[in-house]
């Protein structure tokens, strides 16, 4: 197993929830995964608000990020579904389609002086933890703590489109739940588990009221199942659940939101101050 990865930061994690970054760095290190910074990387760029506008631009910026990792001789790991979608889809296309690569490289060469040769693999950290690190290694790091009832939220672009991602069954997935349970939590089934948080595809930016309605429906379903924490694997879903709850007046009891890296940080006995929980708008009182 290659255990050194270019750590792709993206935007929401380093700039809005840096606690996810510090947790990811520490948790992955403790599990024997070395992260190296991808200096000069940019936004992936986000699928909803760039792929929607111009797919050529979207792919060219993504290819530049892939080329940075290629030059460093590493594969990429990301803790964000949006970044994963953009980088995985772009690598999938460019690694297998020389014509598409040629087209993108014309732009890339002109803008950066380097080309992308199609050798980088893109990993999502949930899938990396499940497939490469393994559940036993995760269990061995757990220092005890509370067994919480968790609503696992996969988000959309971690597993889907499943014919390209090939990670787990898109309708009845288990890999993320298994990790949460390995961390000593109980993953609770809830109605319409697997539904979008509401934020994706540029919907949060353009029609925040519509996004909020979808989020509220998910929260209602989670609450009906008696969950104590929401666990996500994407800073954008994380943001949507975290900032939406204070806006929902008919939801007096809030549900704390943790990114999997923060949940693992807690379970592994990481210093609470290193989790960056104070920026969460939905108070984390766990």
């Amino acid at each position: 197993m290659a255990n050194k990865y270019g750590f792709f930061l993206g935007c929401i994690m380093p700039l809005r929830y840096p606690g996810i970054e510090s947790s990811s760095r520490e948790v992955l290190k403790s599990l024997g995964v070395d992260l190296v910074d991808m200096k000069g990387a940019s936004c992936c760029p986000a699928p909803g608000v760039t792929r929607s506008f111009d797919q050529n631009y979207w792919m060219a910026v993504a290819a530049r990020n892939l080329a940075i990792a290629e030059k460093m001789g590493v594969d990429i790991v990301t803790i964000c579904n949006g970044c994963f979608d953009t980088l995985f889809e772009t690598a999938h296309k460019l690694n297998h389609d020389p014509e598409a690569r040629k087209k993108v490289n014309k732009i890339l060469k002109d803008a950066t002086g380097i080309e992308y040769n199609g050798t980088v693999n893109v990993r999502h950290f949930v899938e990396l933890l499940y497939r490469d690190v393994g559940l036993e290694a995760i269990k061995s790091k757990v220092k005890g703590g509370k067994n919480l009832k968790a609503a696992v939220h996969y988000g959309c672009h971690f597993l889907k489109p499943s014919n390209v991602k090939k990670i787990d069954d898109a309708e009845r997935p288990h890999v993320f739940d298994d990790i949460v349970e390995a961390a000593g939590m109980t993953s609770v089934m809830y109605k319409d588990k697997g539904m979008c948080c509401g934020a994706g595809g540029g919907v949060r930016a353009r029609t925040p009221d519509v996004a909020l309605k979808m989020t509220a429906e998910n929260l209602k379903n989670m609450q009906a199942a008696g969950v104590e924490v929401i666990v996500d694997c994407c800073p954008f879903c994380h943001l949507q659940y975290d900032v939406s709850q204070p806006q929902l007046k008919d939801m007096p009891n809030k549900i704390p939101v943790l990114h999997l890296s923060q949940l693992l940080g807690l379970a592994f006995g990481m210093e609470r101050e290193k989790l960056g929980l104070e920026v969460h708008q939905t108070k984390v009182n766990l």
Partner: protein, 174 residues
């Protein structure tokens, strides 16, 4: 409800453009509605993704490109996963959105984010409070991205110019 006298002629030319822009499976759709039945956004609104696909299929360009519906899809891929005909619905939405943007249809909040990405390389800004929290967490106050590398940022900006992306996000578009 339109009657026969108002019925529009299909425009295969537009359908062909959708196919070429990435919506290659658009003609496989037989309008079963599994997509609409699976759509989380359609639960909350009058958005019907089946109708978007139908309009693309028939080439009803003027019904589909200026429409708000096109932007209510969260690209969650649920319909794409469940479609019994293998229609790559999200790819069709993306093709249509790209065509709409080329025609000047871009909502102001989207334009602002697109501008931020093309000019700063990130879709949110770095504020003083972010730097302070990063430092407190033991991280570099400025992330090791284009934010701390002027040459790298120039590269990203140049990609926007080479792709004509900078022209798509001029203020005052429809």
């Amino acid at each position: 409800m339109s009657n026969l006298a108002e019925a529009k002629e299909p425009n295969p030319e537009f359908t062909r453009k959708v196919v070429e822009s990435g919506g290659k499976t658009v003609n496989l759709c037989f309008q079963c509605g599994t997509c609409t039945g699976s759509c989380p956004s359609g639960r909350q609104t009058a958005f019907r993704i089946r109708k978007v696909v139908r309009r693309a299929q028939l080439g009803f360009e003027e019904d589909v490109l200026p429409s708000d519906d096109l932007w209510l899809c969260t690209t969650c891929f649920t319909c794409y996963e469940r479609c019994p005909r293998g229609v790559e619905i999200v790819d069709i939405v993306m093709a249509l959105r790209n065509m709409a943007v080329k025609k000047g249809y871009m909502a102001e909040p989207h334009r602002k984010i697109a501008e931020l990405v093309s000019k700063t390389g990130h879709l949110v800004t770095l504020r003083e409070e972010d730097k302070a929290l990063r430092a407190k967490l033991g991280l570099e106050p400025v992330p090791p991205t284009v934010l701390s590398d002027a040459k790298a940022l120039e590269e990203v900006k140049k990609i926007a110019v080479l792709c004509g992306f900078d022209k798509l996000i001029i203020p005052g578009a429809k």
